[in-house]
Amino acid sequence: MIIKKHDLNSFIDALIKRYDIFAPVGRTFEKIENAKDIKLDKKTAFSARKLFFPDKEKIFLFRQKPVPHIEKTKRRVLFGVRPCDMNAIAYLDKLLKDDPYYKEKRKNTLIFGIQCIKRLDDNCYCHITDTFQTNTYDLLFIESKDDFFIVTGSEIGRKIISKFKHLKKAKVRDIDILMELIRKSFVMRSRARIEINDRAIEEFARRCVSCSACNAVCPTCVCFYDEDKIGLGLKPEERIRYWDSCQLQRYTRVAGNFVFRPERQQRLKNWIHCKLGYSKERVGMLGCVGCGRCVSVCMVDINMFHALRQ
């Protein structure tokens, strides 16, 4: 299908009546009330991970015994996610496939993604991690001059656009040609394989201040810890899980105050290996989707893609 660019807002506004719409509004993905609030020109500083795996989430209520607390999620649409984030969602789908809290949010979310036609900024590295395309979407919008081509990825996605009037039929061939062009524009810069240079990491690690901002913006970081809250009656009330950060000492601390990775160097090295190596063995997918947010956010200019052997 094809939608005119100036029709996109009315398409979104029509959706708002039926769904909660989450879209990029600058630094983050937020629930929007009006299609005009959406900002598609830039990459958000934070990924959409928070919508599926909140930074703070109640998981148990304590009654006579712990009772699971899974908050119901309203049917919603995540609009304007980029291929890197869609690949991150595919990664989380695999990693958290038996996590009931994630599943509840995921199954109630439709993904309307946007295909990047070129690197959005200098810190985009999806051409290295090969994540500039994806098939984790219900609808995919591909920009082309005055139009968006719309590719359907699921039955429900197809139903939704079949109800909207201002669409033209697109030729499958046109989309194929467009995608081929996009693929070429990325692959031309692609480096064949990912090999980590430990010497380079050690060089970076000397600058690292363990602020753990990289963990906070990463779309695939879901390490968590849980903490119990005591209520006003001094009775145990609820168990809450928070995002954790592998850049902090307490991450590996065990009873008796023994820390297994006491040095910053060890922790940064572990993180980079986790993203570019371990994840492949554990989840079967690269844990880094090349969004480059960790590079943008780092205050001491650590760039893990510079730690790759060229």
């Binding site: 998981i59 148990f60 304590f62 015994k65 712990p66 699971p68 899974i70 990693l95 958290l96 038996d98 996590d99 009931p100 599943k103 879901v222 390490c223 968590f224 810890y225 849980d226 903490e227 119990d228 005591i230 009775k235 145990p236 009330e237 168990r239 954790d244 592998c246 991450y251 590996t252 601390r253 065990v254 009873a255 008796g256 023994f258 297994f260 990775r261 060890q266 090295k269 572990n270 290996h273 986790c274 190596g277 371990y278 063995e281 554990r282």
Partner: protein, 259 residues
């Protein structure tokens, strides 16, 4: 309704045994299918969760020292109190591999707990193994755990106990476990199983290597910060391995030198 893997079940404490002034054993009133070497997540509403290895077989007992917010509170529990349990997690000791071998059990301090689970199994299935020797190092005579059982075990296999600091009533060995091991003549087909403080792995494996036991014949049991127990939270990674999913029992050759 899907199963919630983080949901603990409540278990009643049947009996509390004071092993030494610091360490307690809880006998739990709960049926669970597990094998020695596995662990459970103990869940105390209001305090959190802590991974604790199972120290018996086939009944469920936990031995622990109060060293954190969860275990501190656990320490105050009495018979008939209830605690949350989920598990068992991790892999058992590699029993297929251990079949017919001469087993050397080497443990220090609280590390005797999972080893005791193995010994319980051994006493029920003696035929499966060629022989068994236990080395156990404690800080001082007072801190020795499972005192009565150590005496009982002596009837079935040889038990070597050593302490770092002796008191005037102590007549046994003095020094670290490695010292005991140094004077020991190894059996024909040895497999060592080590559980104790991290520093022990290094020295004991060195000693064993010097005596001709290769790293793939050394099985180590690791302790890590485990939050979920099911391979989601990644706190317990050693390289690409997760202690909760791939361990806690590893061949030393697999994990040597990894962080």
């Amino acid at each position: 309704m899907t199963i919630n893997p983080y949901e603990p079940e409540m278990a009643k404490i049947k009996k509390v045994v004071d092993e030494n002034p610091e360490i307690k054993t809880f006998v739990l009133d709960k049926k669970m299918h597990f094998l020695p070497g596995q662990f459970v997540q103990v869940s105390l509403p209001g305090f959190g969760e802590a991974p604790i290895s199972i120290s018996s077989y086939p009944d469920l007992e936990l031995t622990f020292r109060p060293v954190g917010s969860v275990t501190d509170d656990l320490y105050k529990m009495r018979p008939r109190n209830k605690i949350g349990i989920r598990g068992p997690y991790g892999n058992p000791y590699p029993f297929d591999y251990l079949k017919g071998k001469d087993i050397l059990l080497i443990s220090g301090g609280c590390g005797l707990a999972p080893i005791r689970s193995f010994i319980d199994y051994y006493l029920l299935n003696k035929k499966h193994f060629s022989s068994l020797v236990l080395f156990y190092g404690a800080r001082n005579p007072k801190s020795i755990i499972y005192k009565n059982e150590l005496e009982k075990w002596k009837k079935h296999f040889s038990v070597h106990v050593t302490v770092d600091e002796a008191d005037k009533n102590w007549k046994g060995n003095i020094g670290v476990v490695t010292k005991l091991l140094g004077n020991f003549k190894l059996p024909k087909n040895p497999v060592a199983m080590i559980c104790g403080p991290p520093i022990m792995f290094k020295f004991v494996s060195h000693m064993l290597n010097a005596k001709g036991v290769s790293d793939d014949k050394i099985i180590v049991s690791f302790e890590r910060n485990m939050r979920c127990g099911i391979g989601k939270c990644f706190h317990c990674n050693i390289g690409s391995k997760l202690v909760c999913k791939d361990g806690p029992n590893f061949r030393w050759s697999e994990v040597k030198g990894l962080e």
